[in-house]
Symmetry: D2
Subunit: 318 residues, 4 copies
């Protein structure tokens, strides 16, 4: 997660609420749900049996990009109230659903070589999602390289490699540099990036998966020349799979304040003044996260790694 990037994530919509990595939350900030936004296509599906709701936001042109403050591309949001529960009845159908959408966004995985990247800092519980997913993966690339095509066919495998590069404060390098280097040497066809995200509302924490084909920004932090992890910078397709695990502390305060003041009849302009005045530098490096975050991360990372294992090793558990 890009802990330090709040100030870079300003967008046209930022005054209508704090930082969010979820396209769905940006879309929701436009109060009238049914109003069509030019350049933005919205589609909802519900799977009641699985207790899952899937929303697809497609940003199709520059106009949509500007309004949404997110790059052109497809954003699939899976809302699953039981995502963080340790219960076979939930995580199995969920991992199948995630696998389905990853495959769909990738345009199929058959005979593709894929590199999975677990972003984040394994020492901070809510940011350990990426490394935890990678820890549970069943990598296959070295086996296929060694034992050949026949072995691959026999076991119904696709080639998958994986890395947890660490964060810049641990490595002294931008994540984009490390990944670009690994791509240069191992030539994958597709990169799947896993990361913990920031949401705007606590209700979504640990209950939502966002899958996009637009890439992602890791903790660029101090530097200016940060490298987004996307097709343009990496030269290969990038699918980003994220789960909101924290809310920025400043965001949560302004969200509550905004809601409260609006209810009290203050004008939008007045609310803005309030919030700006309240701007508290001590909050800048604080985040909000649920108290059971350890178990949630453990369960969610297991569900996602099972989804990916299914994608690349169909024979597994069959």
């Amino acid at each position: 997660m890009n802990w330090k990037q709040s100030k870079n994530s300003e967008s046209e919509t930022s005054m209508k609420g704090g930082r969010t990595d979820l396209a769905l939350e940006v879309r929701e900030s436009f109060t009238e749900d049914n109003v069509e936004i030019k350049g933005v296509i919205l589609k909802k599906e519900e799977n009641e049996q699985k207790d899952i709701r899937v929303t697809t936001v497609e940003i199709t042109d520059k106009q949509g990009e500007k309004v949404m403050g997110k790059p052109i591309g497809t954003y699939i949001t899976i809302e699953a109230p039981h995502l963080n529960e340790k219960d076979e009845n939930f995580y199995k159908p969920l991992s199948e659903e995630i696998a389905k959408y990853v495959e769909r966004l990738a345009g199929g995985l058959k005979n593709k070589q894929v590199l999975v990247v677990g972003l984040g800092n394994r020492e901070v519980t809510p940011d350990a999602l990426g490394p935890d997913v990678v820890d549970n993966l069943f990598v296959t690339r070295h086996l296929i390289n060694e034992y050949g095509k026949e072995f691959k066919e026999k076991h119904n495998m696709e080639s998958m490699s994986a890395i947890s590069p660490g964060v810049m404060a641990q490595t002294g390098m931008e994540t984009g540099e490390i990944i670009a280097g690994v791509i240069h040497e191992t030539k994958p066809d597709l990169v799947i990036v896993i990361d913990a995200l920031a949401a705007r509302s606590v209700e979504r924490l640990n209950r939502t998966v966002q899958i996009t084909d637009t890439g992602i920004s890791p903790g660029a932090g101090v530097g200016n020349n940060r490298k987004e992890l996307n097709r343009k910078n990496l030269g290969v397709d990038v699918i980003a799979l994220g789960v909101p695990t924290v809310v920025d502390a400043a965001t949560i305060v302004s969200e509550h304040l905004e809601r409260l003041l609006s209810r009290q009849g203050f004008s939008e302009k007045e609310v803005e003044c309030f919030i700006q005045e309240m701007n508290d530098p001590s909050m800048r490096n604080m985040f909000v996260t649920p108290k059971n975050i350890d178990e949630s991360i453990k369960q969610i990372s297991y569900t996602i790694s099972e989804a990916l294992n299914q994608c690349f090793f169909k024979g597994i558990g069959a």
Copy 2:
């Protein structure tokens, strides 16, 4: 830390701000600093050379107890802006200072058998302080039991044992039950409890150590019959050493709101109404913590364990 106890920590002062485990912050909520509160004695010391400020709050009678919402006893607060920095110039003098106050509150440690208890959940970064301290301790009790008094004298040791009991959601037992059992079997003269605390303001996070002789309440959680870790319940003296590592999310929101509204000229009564209205159940299980919490916890727990190692093994590193 007692993640789930917010609702139990109501006190006379609770309307004047959210939950805090720091006596110092309760004292500060009485706006006029110089006003004497009956039953409460305040003493301040400063060590400029070490960049440390020490405040002692003594609650001397029922009256003070009621006003402060904390039990009778001594609360020493060491404010050290560099507590979470990995720098020899800071952590050595700090660990000496902590050692000094622990010994003072204990009335000396010579020939006492001491049990150190690391409260908290080692899987949640800001709550891992207690277990991390215990992991770094140099325990001596088994060595003294084995090699005898001469060995003890020769190495200038006191008897120290240590345990990280885990939290109720991990054990199914109250921490008080486990500790009472261990005390029953091993008969220490003194228990020193280490725990992560909640503060009211983010400025204090990871920069403050509170040492008290009043004991502490671990995560009693769902039950009513929670067992405070104090002299009354455990039958031995208890010193609690805590560091605030989180702020309750609801607390931070109401703090900010309160400050803002007061500045806007709202009456205290109005502010209260606002806050009550805003009461958001989804915030109940959320906490706020700094983004560099992993490094901070590592450094602080090291400083505290070094302080305790000095107390019990004078020969160490000398």
Copy 3:
């Protein structure tokens, strides 16, 4: 595991091979398999479908105790070549099998209050089995205490609590002291102890589960007054569930030597002389373990915790 106890585990059979915690391996050291040993009853079952072999050794009297060098009681050994493989086809039937034998040895678990103890040092991979199992348990005692009998019945739960006490070098206390204290306070009807064991042969490592009703000796180490974890010392029934994860380095060397020399035609007496001469003090604190020990421990601890979760929470995953 009792890393330091090798010298205490001498038994009548010790000259015929090194240290083993497995009754099965002691029995096997009597070369003629069909010879009946007085006081020892042997029973074998095979479940070809599950690829599991179960051997029950019952030591029925003092005579058997002396010959076997193990206390009177029942020793169930489940040999499962796939125990350490991450494959649903294997670990599910295995966890059911383990659950079955635990229940059988316990004489049923209905309405019993059970304390699970994870012995060992979580920082040493092959010794982390116990703590890892406890980390995965779904404890219920506090829920039943809070929500009552109706809740218990509705969810088909039995009361289970759990603790990982750590090893003496971490706590300064004997494990037996800690457990006795916890029992004194929480009054369980049965204690189930999980521990990593030493085997004599590398073939058994991470492929065998031993379940006994005789208790177990944790790392007594330096002291003489070590406390075995058994009915006599703890005052409640004890079931010990162990998995061999290491071979003592000295054991492995003498085993190989013995085998080789016998094949070369040396007499038993000569072999013994060789081995005694080779006695190498530098080997005393060394152990042998497989190179993939991390994944094995992760998988085995998961299988065992699932077995226990099934025993105490029948509703789980159903």
Copy 4:
């Protein structure tokens, strides 16, 4: 560490003992210490005050390479009986000594950009040395990139970045591929590789540091096209810093056997026959390590990371 490479490490000397990564142990296998070996220069220094012994083996030509079974280059071995002890009196002088030899082999570090690579698997205690060292490093590259040359001079820093790439079974990639990629992107002048090594004798475990300028072979494992981490393959200078933390189980058995049989008067030829006969496939993936390996690794990795921090950030702790 290259857990699976035993079969690849055959050399001319392999019959005279099992696998070792230490040039010093190879040299010792030539029984007459004073005999000069062509192409091999030996130099010994002792620092009694620090209780350190330093041996430099220089392999100067193809002849020396062939005899020693190690590539041309310099091998510095620091033998320090207290390397794994948590005692300020030892680890400070030791880390200074290590820093000195690293700087010497590097021909100075002034204005060099250095990439530190922590090889090994963080989930297997004796193999976690490399990742543990990297976890404790104070990386500077991103700071210098951001704040510029003046900042660098003011703080007396050199540019250091660091990565723990994981092992092939975790990533599906050869370590050499990952490192080559990172070098391609970040262009360091020098790579320092940290790894756990295998020794032949248990006496050396956790008490020896080997520093070489010849590079190192990470776990090439299943493939043939393994990539050694050396100047030839990576295009930059490579310094490898290793500590023996395990002995191959097969090695330890044959070492003991050999010693014993020689003492019994068997001829070298006979001994060889014995050992070959004993060749036990079940031992192939077993290693021997001390029982206190967790504390040893923690202490040694701390000492090494302090050595490197001194090299790159002279201002630290000063």
